[in-house]
Structure formats: C-alpha cells, structure tokens
Amino acid sequence: MLKVTEANVAGEDPWQVAGRTFSSRLIVGTGKYKDFAQNAAAVEASGAEIVTVAVRRVNVSDPNQPLLMDFIDPKKITYLPNTAGCFTAEDAIRTLRLAREAGGWTLVKLEVLGEAKTLYPDMIETLRATEILAGEGFEPMVYCSDDPIAAKKLEDAGAVAIMPLGAPIGSGLGLQNQVMIRLIVEGANVPVLVDAGVGTASDASVAMELGCDGVLMNTAIAEAKDPVMMARAMKLAVESGRLAYRAGRMGKRRYADPSSPLAGLI
C-alpha cells in the first residue's frame, strides 16, 4: 500500500495508455483561448502532459501567422491529434493519416460526430473508424457515448482508451450519467477518461471519484474568467478526486451518526 505523500500525489500514481506512462491524469484542449500565450500558461498551470490539437489547412495567404507548435513544444508535451469536425469514418481517418505525417503520432483522439447541434458521437462510424485505424497501426483514444456495450466493442476493435462524454461537448453541465460512466469503468480493460461535459473543478473530481483514469477538458478552462487559475483548480480537482477514489469513500447512511462519543456526557 502506497503511503499518501505529496510525492505520490504527483508522481507515484502514474497511469498508462498504449504503453506510454504519464503522471498527470488531466488532458487539456488547446481551443478557444484568447491567444497562444494564455493557452501555454494554462497548460503549464494544469500540469497536463498531453494536449489535444486539431488538424486544419494552413493559411496560405498568411503563412507567417504564429503556430501552436511555437508556443507548446511537441517535444515536451504529447500532442494528441483529434478529428473534431469529422462526421464520417473516412474524414476522420484521412485527418489522422495527415496528423501522423505531420509529426509521427500514432496515439490519436478519434471522434466521429453524428450531427452539429449536439456533437453527439456517431457510434457506428466511430466503431468502423476504430477498426480501420487500429489496423493501420494507430492507437486511438476514442470519444464515445456513455454506452457500456459500445465501450466494450470499441475496446475489442482496438481502442487504447475509452472516452465517454459526461455531457455535450462545450456544455459545462457536469457528469449527467454517473451510473453509466461507473459501469464503463468497471467493465473496461483499457483506461477510461471522461471527455466533454466538465464545467468546474467539482465535476472533474466526480469523474475521478467514479474511478476514471483521467479527464479531458477544454472549454471549462478556456472559457473561465481566469483560465490559468481554473487550470490549476482542475489539476487539484483531478488529483483530489483520484486520491478520494483510492482512499475509498465512507459508506452512506440514511440517518445521523455522531462523531463524538456518547459515553461520558455531563
């Protein structure tokens, strides 16, 4: 049994995905920030070792625009290329093939969306893309619905992590589906990360207390009034939620139970 010290909060409770070991259980996005400098400061404050990034056309008419890579060094922080905005398996696969060529990444975040209004995943296309990508040597971490059966099928198809939504992307509504998330965690043999829906620090703690291996978020930090401070809050929330999970919470009672002895009352 590990002794809980400051050291093992940060360093001695690592997790693994696709054979890579990370200390931080918080993955952060790089969208919606005021500028790259604020984004980089938030990543630093979050302690994240992995950031999600999108793949888009370069601006040929203004090639001297600053690049994300100039602010967040892909040699120090693991870039996790995503397929945000893709609505078919083919689009997602095409995007990730390009991402792999841009930097040699095989660890990727797959998301195939069903429609623009809810950004809810299309699980049929997602499963199809997972199979094809795994066959091409990719290691897809897969954004998915909170469906324990679909989660197992993704795992069988080669997903290296299962990433169910807690609420719609960018909604900040918190985990609406704690029962299903817990069932997915119990059934999975690969890491489970809540991806989407976290709004504030307590939401991240809830995800970790359910036994998730990590949390992925973007808007909750980027749209906070002080993104860098919120990034730090999320780091602490993920760590405290993880510790609470490992510590094992007390049982719930229906009535009061005094903490002070009843004997010896004057």
Partner: protein, 72 residues
C-alpha cells in the same frame, strides 16, 4: 503544362500557377511554409515527409497542406 513552363494546381482549395518540375518541398517553401511543420496530401494520398523533396508537382494536382491548430 502551359506555354510559359507553368502548371496549374490547387492548394487548399485555391487555384495556383507554379513552375513545372517543382518539388512538393519547394512548393511549401515558396508558399512561405516550413516543410517540417506541415503535412501534405496530394490527390487524396499523404505524401510521406521523406519524399517531399522528390515528388514533383504535376498539372492538375490537388494539394491539402495542414498543420496543428488549437482544438479540444
């Protein structure tokens, strides 16, 4: 090829005329891009980074040149 030794291609959806015989790496440099920071797709097939300096641009080619941007 046109009479003036140029070819017509499309880059990220925009038509361009470039010198015939130019390589993809030269095309990227001419567009002001660092070939190490982009990935190139030519007619829907990824051009491996190791061959950017060998593959020549041909008339009618359609290129997508992408990089990483902020995203969630």
């Amino acid at each position: 090829m046109h009479d003036d030794q140029t070819v017509t291609i499309r880059v990220n959806g925009e038509h361009r005329r470039v010198r015939a015989g130019m390589t993809v790496a030269q095309l990227a440099l001419e567009l002001g891009l660092d070939p190490d920071k982009v990935a190139v797709e030519r007619n829907l097939a990824v051009v491996p980074r190791s061959t950017l300096g060998d593959v020549e641009v041909e008339d009618g080619d359609e290129f997508e040149i992408v990089t990483f941007v902020g995203g969630g």
